[in-house]
Symmetry: C2
Subunit: 208 residues, 2 copies
DNA sequence: TTATATACATACAGGAAGGTATCTTTACAA
DNA sequence: TTGTAAAGATACCTTCCTGTATGTATATAA
């Protein structure tokens, strides 16, 4: 068919992205064929090439759909500058994990990006996006630990720089293991308490 | 050519694996062609099909070459049952990281397995291997934390189960970030001290 | 010495998939 | 009413790559 209304065209586009998500997840990006994706979306390859130039374009468009955890956490952490930083972080993490667990589409996207695609040169835009998000997130974390230090809420053997990096790796690790699914745990139920315990031990111990 | 000596055949096999390692890393597993790999090894596809049935066989053989970090750490941790567990762990981690950093081949292999291949069904054997190693490693970690608890060397707010899982995710996170290269850090120099600081804070605080 | 299995090389046939180019239909503007 | 461009459908072509089949030379056992 042809020239539908603008809205119908957008629906087609979304349907294609949904289909790509599903097919990429099942078959991997490289082995997924555009024809398969188009058919799953109820149209033909013509529509794919119209909306997204080529396969790479489709992949990158799908990548844009993914709200990165780093960005979400940064968002949650930015406001409220006079709240106890460590407590604030613990809460933000718990909330973000909870969020993630409730959003199966985001989990599927993360799985695709982590285990169903090969990062060669042409994928650089997706990697670059992550890189930038990582950098910004680590900066935010460091600022929070610095504020904690200024407020005397950071144990003396932890320096902000190291604490931030440590924390960052920790989140990354939990997320990876959750996605890989080997450990078989629930994100919010495990990570929240673990992070709290950790932050409690990073916090300055009250004299007892 | 034909029927060379057994040793020469083995050399060919190794050359093919080396070539596969290089080509997989550069082009990703899916986009690498067997012909390209064979040529890089100085032979033809005939040799590939002889030594490793097909592409999947080649990939899995390459996977076997990788000594998993989990297994290495388990090895380092198994002996010496009356050494202080936490200290032992800190040392083992540092040594393993050092080891890894000195072995560029292992890093290349890890990179391939993490960022240059798509885990669809047929890759299951490789995933299963990791799963088993993960499980065993986490068990070992838990045992160590349990011993630490028995010796009164574990802070009361940390339970062995949680500490082990936490520690496991932490290692996984550091390794991933190192491989991804976004953080731009050196493994041994960063991880060792960070892990020590952490273990110090997990350890029972001496009364002060 | 001969036979045979080994260790490849080469040739062949085939499919699958992607890009492009060319229709076709329809919303919408003039 | 008609022209035009958006939104897809179809057709075609070309490129790659894989598996298999077969050829062949040689190490080695008998």
């Amino acid at each position: 068919m042809a020239r539908r209304t603008k809205q119908e065209a957008d629906e087609t586009r979304e349907a294609l992205l949904d289909a790509a998500e599903q097919v990429f997840l099942e078959r991997g990006v490289a082995r997924a064929s555009l024809d398969e994706i188009a058919r799953a979306a109820g149209c033909t390859r013509g529509a794919v090439h119209w909306h997204f130039r080529d396969k790479l374009g489709l992949f990158l468009a799908l990548d844009e759909r993914l709200v990165l955890l780093q960005d979400e956490l940064r968002e949650r952490l930015c406001c409220d500058p006079n709240r106890p930083p460590l407590e604030h972080m613990a809460y933000a993490i718990s909330a973000a994990m909870d969020d993630l667990e409730r959003d199966p589409r985001r989990k599927r996207l993360l799985t695709i990006m982590l285990q169903r695609c090969e990062y060669v040169e042409e994928m650089a835009p997706a990697l670059e996006r992550r890189r930038a998000a990582d950098l910004a997130f680590r900066t935010t974390l460091r600022e929070h630990f610095e504020r904690a230090e200024l407020r005397g809420e950071l144990a003396p053997n932890w320096k902000p720089e190291r604490a931030a990096f440590f924390f960052y790796a920790l989140i990354s690790g939990f997320l990876n293991e959750w996605l890989r699914g080997n450990a078989g745990f629930e994100l919010a139920a495990e990570v929240g308490p673990a992070v709290c315990t950790f932050l409690a031990c990073v916090a300055q111990q009250p004299a007892s």
